[in-house]
Assembly symmetry: C2
Homo-oligomer: 422 residues x 2
Amino acid sequence: VSRAPAVEIVAIGDELLLGDTIDTNGPWLGDRLAQEGILVSRRTVVGDQAQAIRSGVADALARTGTVVCCGGLGPTQDDLTRPVVAALYGVPLEVDAAWVEVMRERFEKRGLRMPASNVVQAEVPRGGTLFPNDVGTAPGLALHDDALGTTVLLPGVPGELRWLTEHHVLGYLRTRLPRGRGPVLRRVLRTTGIAESALAERIADIVTSIAPLGIAFLPVGIGIDLRVTSWGELPENEAVAALQRAEDRLRERLGPVLYGTGRADLAALVGETLRSRGFTVATAESCTGGLLAKRLTDAAGSSDYVIGGIVAYSNEAKQRLLGVPEALLREHGAVSEPVARAMLEGARRTTNADCALSITGIAGPGGGSSEKPVGTVWIGTAVREQADVRLHRLVGSRAEIRERSAQAALRMLLDQLNAGAS
Amino acid sequence: VSRAPAVEIVAIGDELLLGDTIDTNGPWLGDRLAQEGILVSRRTVVGDQAQAIRSGVADALARTGTVVCCGGLGPTQDDLTRPVVAALYGVPLEVDAAWVEVMRERFEKRGLRMPASNVVQAEVPRGGTLFPNDVGTAPGLALHDDALGTTVLLPGVPGELRWLTEHHVLGYLRTRLPRGRGPVLRRVLRTTGIAESALAERIADIVTSIAPLGIAFLPVGIGIDLRVTSWGELPENEAVAALQRAEDRLRERLGPVLYGTGRADLAALVGETLRSRGFTVATAESCTGGLLAKRLTDAAGSSDYVIGGIVAYSNEAKQRLLGVPEALLREHGAVSEPVARAMLEGARRTTNADCALSITGIAGPGGGSSEKPVGTVWIGTAVREQADVRLHRLVGSRAEIRERSAQAALRMLLDQLNAGAS
């Protein structure tokens, strides 16, 4: 199968290897380049040592001839990308006086003297290209020679990397790379309630008959996502049509097991369902502490259906903000069915929303007991007067239990909405 | 400088290269192995093609002799890690009958027949080691020969990868790797309000005099983090003492520019400050939709100071839940100083908290105007009766504006607390 032109990414920084920083630049570049019909064929993460950077870039150039480096362009002694790559290409660094002036003016605007060490950020490998950076002091750089190929250098600060990519690097790469036939497009279909192997058996004939598209199986905690991909062999309009045909076939085969498409997460799907019914929603949260409301308001336009919510973290707040009777809290404890039900009623009463969700549980790591261990979470959902309150026993870290509680609440409300409650 | 024994990580999956999934396994393993005195010297991300996996693993083995692979152990046709690595070692795959039984029983417990395709997950390269997986169907695997070195295979589902690492892989690697002198330990000191170059000049003499420790400069949006690292040359007790001496020197030199340590984020720091004063806090949010309350409750033990919060997403909710007068909303609009102030008062009045934060703004992408463009955010903070309400003009995507609004609100409250308001 013919594929799109390929580049490699080399990300530089000990913090990425040590796990102190999660690399979001690599994924963002992979997605952005795919839209342009350029595939990232490999991503390498190396530390801040000259030898590691040099071999990482040299190996990547030898494989693909085009490399985008992220990070190591700062003004301090641990920023080695610029001199190491210049040395690899065998060219000296030369100060770009105009860029020194740009930096100096930016410091002066903030009433500061520019430290001498910033001058290294104006160094350009001889014969290279400087991409002016409107949002930071490190410009992007590009080097090319016919033997080694092309290397683009970008700063590791995500906002600067993205700005430089949009304004300079995509255009530059278009002039350097062969034109592919079309973008790399994909559609994600989300399934739940079926094992990966069973899903694969059920759609085996579709998987083997939709070339040049490919289907991948991605376990994602709450189910298996299917990614259908057009790898750049088809022009955009043909790829879009082929993806739609594949989706239609999978949708027909899988029925309700397939619960969503695109990157739509459950919160967005709940939002679309609420919008289509003309319903509003409100939340009452304890252990998730605002996460559920945040999920519901992640989508632009969510003000059409989200009225608001109450984070009743303390017992006092459960009484004051949601009207949960003190006697209930004393008798059953905050993590209990009656309190989840009273929170649900409080959310609807105080906001006048059509639908409500409530969560009260023990996210840990402390606060558990043998009767109510960490992970004990009561979740309630209501569509008008119909309420559903259930006990969930969740596992994981504090952050995971909070995420899973919010996910479970959204799932319950979606099921209730789809069951036709009104 | 002598360093700890090194391994490389190879992560496998087109979804990682396309950016549909952010790789959290690599960072987690990097951190976990560092605690054991093992350095990750390089991380490689490759796609689901046999040739890419084979060359990724072979190159990594040639450099370090020890590789941990993540992903591609599922039961479907796009899961190639197991056969590719077995072929690289020149050994056949053999079905482990005991593991087939374990899988079959797990399916039966859920009332399901095990699909035939799951049997591949019980295949073990001849002479290899199977690590039983208590939390999923794909066991971990390890291969070793004296020529190639050691390769460990782990499933890509984060919960399974972590469980197998803790229960099997760390112990296995200890038997295969030379013992380092000590763990890789690091301390992060967070600075704000100083340029990276100016910071580097101010501590230049410390940077050059604290070997065998190293200092790195990490720009992180709201400031520069300094990472002081003991790279495994010192035994644990000496490393801890050396890090403490380095922190003391930097703290003395930098004064208030240094605002936090460890991985503590601003929300945790606000929490510690509230705790030390015996203050409670409540939130009133509009455009952040629960994110601010979520940030404040991320920390375990935050129930000591967080009473709760109100997500007043609609104007109706601002009136009903926070008592914002309708006239204010009509006259000034929801995104205005008087409304931010009224939300602040509403949060304190309804919860009886000592401190409060309020946010009302336009996160976009829609809803902006020439007078109030996207990114216009009014933020209020109060410590008892002293209120501070300010206009922020933020840039970025919807998600970024929400993140930055929450961050700015936390910063304002911390400044107010540190200014000694009481």
